[in-house]
Symmetry: C2
Subunit: 257 residues, 2 copies
DNA sequence: GGTCGATGGATTGTCGACAATATGACATCC
DNA sequence: GGATGTCATATTGTCGACAATCCATCGACC
């Protein structure tokens, strides 16, 4: 166990790469936390100097963190005008869920073809923890489990760019779930049962049925969200009604030359 | 409400917002240009100091530009190790096109429902310019027209987050097209005819048929790409074979506190 | 009276210097 | 001889100061 031990570990993928965290990652986490939990209200203007003073870091990591959150869609960044927490309008919910339906169909299809036995057992474990979670855990932990399950599906798809797209949606979905669970305490949604069935359908390589299941699952989640959401949406802070159109997108207007 | 002249202009959408460009945008453009045209080879290590000296700007905008390109997927950013130009492996082509098929189906479906007459006429104009372009224009201009057409489709879908996903693909597709057109000079692909037909099908609100057309169109593009691409792929500079998995993705692990 | 132009204050964009970190080569030990 | 520990070097991450820009307010003018 001296010569080839490291090789065994590496090739067996038993170890996962350690994440290199820098200050901007830490700052981004705190800000994301504050946004999804609602401590930072939609419409609120985040000032670099304020945040950097509160967190006792320089403005540079704060700036980088803003950029990260901007790419996740949690804040809108406008030139020379800073970052503004984006809202949770019904249109946002619709955008996120129409896109998610497209992405997750692809993810399920790929995951069926590529998921390893380890992937499947991890998925089963999470699915099994959801029912007890619905009864015993906090709204937050329940939302975390839900998002973690779907995150595993995307990971099992082994498609880096697809996963990057999912990253843009994940924080929003977590925010949606959390807000709904907090507003509507009987959040024992029927959804968690569908997770377990989905795993088994995927394990059985029944692509057709799995696609139909994920479609129904997401449609249901969307419907539940909209139902409990039409009212609590309008708790924004000041009058910043979601900037005009797609102005919020930072100037990523691509290879236009 | 205040019924003034400017409201009329805004509501008619006759004017498009002027893009606020800062230095990092400019730097990102130059770097993207160098990457897609192949002046920066896959595997090449981009040093902040080098670029900032060459462009005579500070390291800050260069750093921001790296982040932008990282989100577009043109470079891989690793902690304390800088940016590396990503490769054009067959797997990359496959990833981009499987994802694109998913996204563009949604885009076409939405565009059929939401496209304005102005959108359609702009699409027609671009589609009409492609045949002559195939004969008279440079490979680059032809690739630009192709990308611009599909970009308009995504814009017509009026879906900010979908458009953001497309942004992650666009540069890659442009790079693919350009490389193929340069390697294979008789690039008068049959694709441009399909653009015109797609527009009319969309204008006729024939969703079913339009979806089938875009599927066939993209499959054809993918096939042509792979055929002319299996060889010229391996022109990378040094041995940096596409970093391990998704290490480049920053730790946006949802809500871990 | 309403529109247009100037000014002040606040906030972001950019810069150059310093500190922290990863990497590869070298020497050392078993 | 092979593996391990140490160190120098190159490169990125962070910082604080300055410059450029935007927004709101106020005053002048038609």
């Amino acid at each position: 166990m001296t010569s080839t031990v490291s090789d065994d570990f590496n090739e067996a993928k038993a170890l996962t790469a350690v994440p290199h965290r820098v200050l901007s990652d830490e700052v981004a986490d705190r800000l994301r936390e504050a946004i999804v939990t609602g401590r930072f209200k939609p419409g609120q203007h985040l000032r670099e100097a304020e945040i950097s003073a509160a967190l006792q870091v320089s403005r540079s990591p704060v700036r980088d963190a803003f950029a990260q959150l901007g790419h996740e869609g949690l804040v809108a960044i406008r030139s020379h005008r800073g970052a503004i927490v984006v809202g949770l309008t019904a249109q946002d919910v619709e955008e996120v869920y129409t896109l998610r339906a497209s992405l997750e169909s692809l993810a399920v299809r790929l995951a069926i073809a590529r998921a390893t036995p380890e992937d499947l057992s991890r998925l089963r474990e999470l699915a099994n923890r959801m029912p007890e979670a619905a009864a015993r855990l906090s709204p937050r932990e329940y939302a975390e489990l839900d998002v973690a399950f779907h995150d595993l599906v995307y990971q099992a798809a082994r498609h880096d760019r697809l996963y990057a797209c999912w990253t843009m949606l994940r924080s929003h979905i977590f925010r949606f779930l959390l807000t709904r669970n907090l507003v509507n305490p009987d959040f024992s949604e029927v959804g968690h049962r569908e997770h377990g069935e989905l795993v088994e359908t995927m394990a059985a390589h029944d692509t057709e049925r799995a696609l139909e299941m994920i479609r129904v699952h997401l449609e249901g989640a969307y419907a539940r969200l909209i139902k409990g959401y039409v009212e609590p949406l309008d708790q924004r802070a000041d009058g910043a009604p979601r900037g005009p159109g797609s102005d919020s997108r930072t100037g990523v207007d691509g290879s236009g030359e």
